[in-house]
């Protein structure tokens, strides 16, 4: 290849040294990144590959569609509730089932709680360590840390003694030799820019976020009946509500609802007084790290989610709107229809699958999707099938398919959602975004970056926490008006279903657009396909040669030291990758420790 320009406008050059990072650590599932760097160690070519994915039809074909949520909840350890929800929506769509208002509110609450928790956990426990140097925190002055904390937030845990205690705790942990969650990092790298005090503040909040996580999951336990795999049901939610203290044991009662209300208040406080000030403070030290934008300044997409009106899955109802932006033109937001066979399609030209019969390079809409493996290395690959040293991206090179919207590679996720909402003129989100940009004295184009992606996630976490309050209050008003229905069982029995029907469930997982498409025949699942957010973002090249969002985002990034690929981790982690449902791996001994090879 040497040097070329992709149809979606990215210059690629594979003539320089190849760096292989396998796997990318601190993510769910298995992702491998290969890049070529030029003589200045700037990335000029990028290749993203995920491991094998078998397709949901393998586990779901022939099963009862009412059970599909329970299976899809198990394909991944991170997005459990989201898959369950989208599966229920797909089946309800196929069977034409409307859910009651309370079920819609409870589902929104479950998902908003999931957003709040996921974004917090992602920021502090997975992503912050790409920006925050834990070892440097050990050298911080607790008094100066206290002053820093008090200058950015009214959060009460801010005394010098508090930071001294936490510092001692981290020191003992590090000295015990078990780095645990702090392993697999590049401490001391010159790419870390925070002063020691900011590092200590952020690590302290890492620990506080661990504590806070205990609280927020109670919302799932209360409404889902069990955790960590809450219960769902086609037609609504499987919990009953009883606010009069008489009647069914196990129903959601006032004491529990008050607990939910209290957790919502504390979530808002934690996000607004800890997460957002931390995000702003950390970003202020990395303002000149403007890399990682990739597709975000060109093509982004969201299906939209959080219906304010039950059973209305359109922008008339969505609190987070859907849409597609092409070529960075924020003045035009295109409508996205997951049912339209011409819109969402998956290509396998560069994926280890084949479409038999007809054009092997065609895109298939998920209702017609097939998952037929064909594993072969291209002529320019190095190594063997069981020990690949370097992939040949000119041929098939990933177990992920390449989803495209009207033929375009799209970025999905919080930044995509925020750009779509901003372009659609959503006032709340515009205020949030403009406020943060003005606090950091940055132009809107600063959003098109790794940091922009990370910032959008933080703002969305705050948005989600505040929306929990609105949704909860709306639900309580409805309950007090006498409506306690949580499920519609009119079409529970298969005798009431059409003999042949299709459905689609779509929405927004914390990490991006998620769709489930199913086909029901004679009360059994005939086909079931999911297109998950990380497949969009981690996708390989397509038939036309368009590169995917991860690949695009890495281009142009200078690396301080290719043997310490911190810059690659930063940008890939900013997408919140979750390859578990996009891929599967049986990892051989020791493989979970990231290896970096330079060829």
């Amino acid at each position: 290849m040497a040097s070329t320009v992709t149809p979606n406008g990215f210059a690629l050059d594979d003539s320089g040294q190849r760096v292989v990072v396998d796997p990318i650590c601190r993510i769910e599932g298995h992702l491998r990144i290969e890049v070529n760097v030029d003589e200045n160690n700037t990335i000029r070519n990028a290749v993203s590959t995920g491991n094998m994915w078998r397709g949901l039809e393998v586990i779901l074909k022939g099963r009862d569609p009412r059970d599909a949520w329970a299976f899809t909840e198990r394909i991944c350890g991170v997005c459990t509730g989201v898959h369950a929800l989208i599966s229920c929506r797909a089946v309800e769509d196929a069977l034409d089932i409307d859910i009651p208002a309370n079920a819609n509110s409870i589902r929104n609450l479950m998902m908003l709680a999931q957003y709040t928790q996921d974004h917090l956990v992602h920021f502090y426990h997975l992503h912050a360590l790409d920006w925050v140097d834990v070892v440097s925190a050990l050298n911080a002055d607790p008094r100066a840390t206290s002053e820093l904390q008090q200058s950015i937030s009214s959060w009460p845990k801010s005394s010098p003694g508090y930071f001294r205690d936490v510092q001692g705790r981290i020191k003992r942990f590090v000295e015990s030799g078990q780095l645990g969650p702090f392993a697999n990092a590049y401490w001391g790298s010159p790419a870390y820019k925070l002063p020691a005090e900011a590092n200590l503040m952020a690590v302290t909040h890492y620990l506080e976020a661990l504590d806070f996580q205990k609280e927020i999951v109670k919302i799932h336990t209360i409404f889902g009946g069990r955790n960590p795999h809450p219960n769902w049901i086609v037609g609504g939610m499987p919990c009953s509500i009883n606010v009069n203290e008489t009647g069914a044991v196990g129903a959601v009662n006032m004491a529990w609802l008050n607990m939910v209300s209290d957790i919502i208040n504390r979530s808002i406080e934690f996000v607004d007084k800890v997460y957002i000030p931390d995000l702003t403070a950390i970003a202020s030290f990395y303002k000149d790290w403007t890399y990682g934008g990739g597709l975000s300044s060109k093509n982004v997409m969201a299906y939209g989610d959080f219906p304010a009106i039950p059973n209305n899955y359109t922008n008339d109802s969505f609190m987070l709107p859907g849409g597609a932006i092409l070529d960075g033109d924020l003045s035009t937001v295109h409508d996205v229809d997951p049912r339209d066979p011409e819109q969402v399609q998956e290509f396998v030209t560069h994926s280890w699958y084949e479409y038999a019969g007809g054009d092997a390079d065609r895109g298939l809409h998920p209702w017609d999707g097939v998952t037929e493996p064909r594993f072969e290395l291209g002529p320019n690959a190095k190594g063997t099938k069981t020990n690949i040293e370097a992939l040949d991206e000119g041929a098939k090179y990933s177990w992920l398919k390449a989803p495209r919207w009207r033929g375009h590679a799209m970025e999905v996720g919080p930044l995509a959602r925020y750009l779509v909402a901003y372009a659609r003129g959503n006032e709340e989100i515009k205020d949030q975004v403009d406020g943060l940009l003005s606090a950091l004295d940055l132009p809107i184009t600063a959003l098109f970056s790794t940091l922009g992606r990370t910032a959008a996630r933080g703002l969305e976490c705050s948005w989600a926490a505040h929306r929990m309050r609105d949704v909860f209050d709306g639900m309580m008003a409805n309950i007090k008006a006498g409506d306690v229905a949580t499920a519609n069982m009119e079409k529970w029995e298969p005798a009431t279903w059409p003999a042949d029907t299709k459905g689609v469930g779509f929405g927004e997982a914390p990490r991006g657009a998620l769709g489930h498409w199913l086909h029901v025949q004679d009360a059994k699942i005939a086909n079931y396909q999911a297109v998950v957010p990380s497949t969009w973002n981690a996708s390989p090249r397509d038939a036309a040669g368009n590169i995917g969002a991860y690949e695009a985002a890495l281009l142009g990034t200078p690396m301080a030291d290719p043997s310490q690929p911190l810059e690659i981790l930063r940008t890939i982690h900013s997408f919140d990758p979750c390859l578990a449902c996009a891929s599967h791996v049986i990892s051989p001994d020791g493989q979970e420790l990231a290896t970096v090879k330079i060829r």
């Binding site: 769910e28 599932g29 298995h30 078998r54 039809e57 393998v58 586990i59 779901l60 074909k61 022939g62 099963r63 009862d64 059970d67 329970a70 299976f71 198990r74 394909i75 991944c76 350890g77 991170v78 459990t80 956990v121 426990h125 705790r169 981290i170 942990f173 078990q178 780095l179 645990g180 969650p181 620990l207 661990l210 504590d211 996580q213 205990k214 999951v217 336990t221 209360i222 009946g225 069990r226 955790n227 960590p228 795999h229 219960n231 044991v249 196990g250 529990w256 578990a580 599967h584 791996v585 049986i586 990892s587 001994d589 979970e592």
Partner: protein, 198 residues
């Protein structure tokens, strides 16, 4: 575990099955808690939990546990179906040494994060089985491993009694809806409903 018990906050012992039931012998841990819960009745001081592959999201429960018993498929480099009991400080090491699956990287981190958070169980044990087959998406336990579920439950019972945890055999079968997971995923329905495709 009734709904109200599921929400009770004052339990101290956590019996946790981990792994992915969609991947053949990877489901061992989850099948063990399912079987344990079907056979015995525990008080409100015990949580019997199907932890799936939840990784870091299991941390809140591990931190609360004063006693933690884990079921999992572990690569001991033994014959398939071999059962091992690991106790105390060896548990985190075994969870990390030979991983058969990504979920164990996650769970090892849960244990070290619990140490970092200053809340680690006083007692910890792992009942592990050597898996035979993992790479069978939608498949169930292989016969060799399935035969070890009840022995694993017996081993766990001895550990729990040693910790002073009280439980009694169920006088009646577990009513529908009170299993550790949805009934569609219970081993009988799961196996019977497997698609007949290549």
């Amino acid at each position: 575990m009734t709904d109200s018990a599921a929400r009770a906050d004052d339990w101290q012992t956590l019996v946790l099955g981990i792994g992915n039931l969609l991947w053949a012998d990877e489901g061992f841990g989850v099948r063990c808690v399912e079987a344990l819960h079907a056979r015995f009745e525990f008080g409100d001081d015990v949580r019997v939990m199907d932890g799936g592959t939840q990784g870091i999201f299991l941390l809140p429960w591990v931190r609360q546990a004063r006693r933690l018993l884990i079921f999992d498929a572990i690569d001991f480099a033994l014959e398939p179906g071999s059962l091992r009991l690991i106790e105390g400080d060896d548990v985190p090491r075994y969870m990390g040494a030979k991983k058969v699956s990504m979920h164990q990287a996650g769970f090892q981190e849960v244990l070290s994060s619990a140490v970092l958070a200053g809340e680690f169980p006083d007692e910890i044990a792992l009942v592990g089985v050597q898996p035979e087959l993992l790479d069978d998406y939608g498949g169930s336990l292989t016969p060799a491993v399935r035969a070890r579920v009840e022995p694993a439950v017996d081993r766990a019972c001895r550990v729990l009694r040693g910790w002073g945890v009280r439980f009694v055999p169920r006088s009646e079968p577990l009513p529908d809806g009170r299993q550790t997971g949805p009934s569609a995923l219970a081993i009988g329905d799961y196996e019977a409903g497997r698609p007949e495709i290549a």
